[in-house]
Subunit: 247 residues, 2 copies
């Protein structure tokens, strides 16, 4: 499996059969980002792939990612035939459909899979985006401003995000129930997609999983104990979500 | 097609065959919300359905929606067999799969449909959530606070949301290209889902579609000129996105 930094692989930015990458998809990855779940998925699928590790600049995705796709975001997957795919959900669907030949990620209930996947990206994603913003604002110097914006954060939490997070976590806890995975007996696309917002929430300490959501805490432990998860971390270039620079 | 207010239809909150709603799905709708696109879809499909119109209280979804589903959000669809489905994307997928017997919403490229649908809900949804928050904050009285929070809004726009909206609109404009619909020659799930963030953005005047994105402007005009769109508006209970109370 080829791992490369962005600087060393300008060829990979425009992969063609002549680059030697033919036959393998290429993931454009970004540190501390939702793309980590795609590395996890790639490792679970056990396929050959290339990864180009991009690095945040001042917390944001670097400009070089815009050469791969105009949205300039990560994950961006370049398929083995050169098609450029954006959006974690679409990338996960593509990879599972194309490479899961043994039904490892098969789901008994595609509608539920879609509800959970959409919930993680849209509903929970929106609340997370707001909480990240007010967290970030509360760090703006000098002190009187950061103090005032800290009170703004408290108000936003009190009137909106705290209750929304509680509702969302209660929902996910009940959806998981006594199953090992959100998808049931075996991992599914929904598990892959849900990992990012939960990592983000845990990294920022917005929720105390161990204390309040033991089933979600146990699920998170099961994820991080998987060999594929660990290999995914090794293939990437850092996954520290305690800062405010993820997107 | 039955239309009812939430107050008058407590039976519909727990639909069973004995309610007389059997054989029809029931949409729990909310004014000024993303649920409007599901009313549009239901009208495009031309099927029989029930709609329960819920009304925002102080800008938020009313508590009664939590009786239908613990997330208390809209759209929530109760299928003809009593299954409760949340998340616009999942509801749209279910409705198309179940009721589009003529292939009206068929797509030639399911992966592109998934990219666009996910983009509208996740990536664009997150930026929209942030912009809505800073818009809302800038209205907090008294004046010195609203003035200061107005400068916060300007900074957030300058450093993040304005560029993100531009990038997103350029992407959607190029994805639409010279096609009539995002899905190509015929409407698709992606068109249904994209309508909400664009309506939201237009309603708040964050983007000038006529001036800067003529293809998106023409697409929006095509949507609102459709009979099914107009019927959907009549079935709902208001769709004014110029305020800050949508979610």
């Amino acid at each position: 499996m080829a791992t490369a930094t962005a600087e060393a692989t300008s060829a990979a930015l425009n992969p063609t059969p002549s680059t030697g990458s033919a036959g393998k998809p290429t993931l454009h990855h970004l540190n501390n980002s939702q793309s980590q779940r795609i590395l996890w998925l790639l490792e679970e699928l056990g396929i050959e792939y290339n990864v180009v590790n991009h690095k945040r600049k001042r917390g944001r995705a670097p400009a070089e990612l815009s050469k791969v796709h105009q949205l300039g975001k990560s994950p961006t997957l370049v398929t083995s035939t050169g098609r450029v795919v954006v959006e974690s959900t679409a990338v996960a669907s593509y990879l599972i459909e194309t490479y899961d030949t043994t039904g490892k990620f098969a789901t008994r209930d595609p509608l539920r899979d879609e509800e959970l996947t959409s919930f993680a990206g849209s509903s929970l994603g929106n609340v997370t985006a707001i909480e990240l913003l007010v967290d970030l604002l509360a760090t703006v110097p000098p002190w009187p401003i950061s103090w005032f914006l800290g009170t703004v954060r408290s108000q936003v939490q009190k009137t909106f995000t705290t209750a929304e997070f509680e509702k969302a976590m209660r929902f996910l806890e009940s959806e998981l129930g006594d199953q090992e995975w959100f998808n049931g007996e075996n991992l599914g696309r929904s598990d892959i997609i849900i990992s990012w917002p939960l990592d983000c929430i845990a990294g920022r300490k917005w929720v105390n999983f161990d204390k309040d959501y033991p089933k979600l805490a146990a699920w998170r432990k099961r994820v991080t104990e998987r060999d594929a998860w660990k290999r995914g971390l090794e293939k990437g270039n850092g996954y520290d979500l305690s800062g405010v620079d993820q997107d």
